[in-house]
Symmetry: C2
């Protein structure tokens, strides 16, 4: 392991409540938040509470504890927006596309004929994200 | 669930030994094979033995059983090729990019400054894939 976990990363701050997020689910092991730079309608993130940088240093216990939530969220996000599919992506280290160094899984609903939006660096409208978070919350309750 | 599992898919045939693959690992719950249309050097796939179409219909038990192998393989593939990162992708349904309808996780080593190769539909050289499979096997033994 060449890299170490830095507790000053933005997801650690969100987990500690130091900065706000559109949090649509929380349980003992993880939170789910909206990605503030969504690549598709309903793009959200599963973030384990236990600290790890990514898949290269995560414990099996932490990884295994969050995966049922990833699949449940995939189903819920697809249902919430009548999406045609769902893409799961998880990046390890910057050359692979990782920008926040606390393990997270991207859950991006996909729509037929609609490409993913490239990362623009622009934050999405907060009211829109709040509305999408509500729709996924409702779908999670019925999945 | 709108879609059902079709046991005639190519990964089911590979699991049954009906068609060949570059198999670099097998245990009780999963196999690992080289992707024959690799998007990066060392691109391989984790395929559970239990049938499911994707994350939308998989059982928690099957999903949880293969994830430690996904992270172990990420570490091994990174080490085998001195990669700079690893990308994990999992597609659900065709509009999200899924082409074989048996659950699988893509593990793609990433290299600084090197983009992923777009899917060309062309099979990679078999000798090259066999060599890469050997390198990952060796790395798995020491991780």
């Amino acid at each position: 392991m060449s890299e170490t976990y830095d507790p000053a990363n933005i997801f650690a701050k969100i987990l500690r409540g130091e900065i706000p997020s559109h949090r649509l689910h929380e349980d003992e092991t993880a939170i789910v938040i909206m990605d503030v730079m969504p690549q598709s309608k309903g793009h959200c993130l599963v973030i384990p509470k236990a600290p790890s940088r990514n898949l290269l240093d995560v414990s099996d216990q932490t990884l295994v504890s969050i995966m049922p939530l990833v699949s449940r969220l995939a189903r819920a996000a697809k249902a919430a927006f009548s999406a045609d599919g769902v893409q799961i992506v998880q990046f390890n280290e910057a050359p692979a596309g990782q920008t926040v160094f606390h393990l997270h899984f991207h859950v991006s609903p996909r729509y037929a004929g609609v490409d993913l939006v490239p990362h623009s660096g622009k934050m999405a409208d907060g009211a829109m994200l709040a509305e999408q978070a509500d729709a996924i919350r409702a779908a999670l309750r019925s999945t």
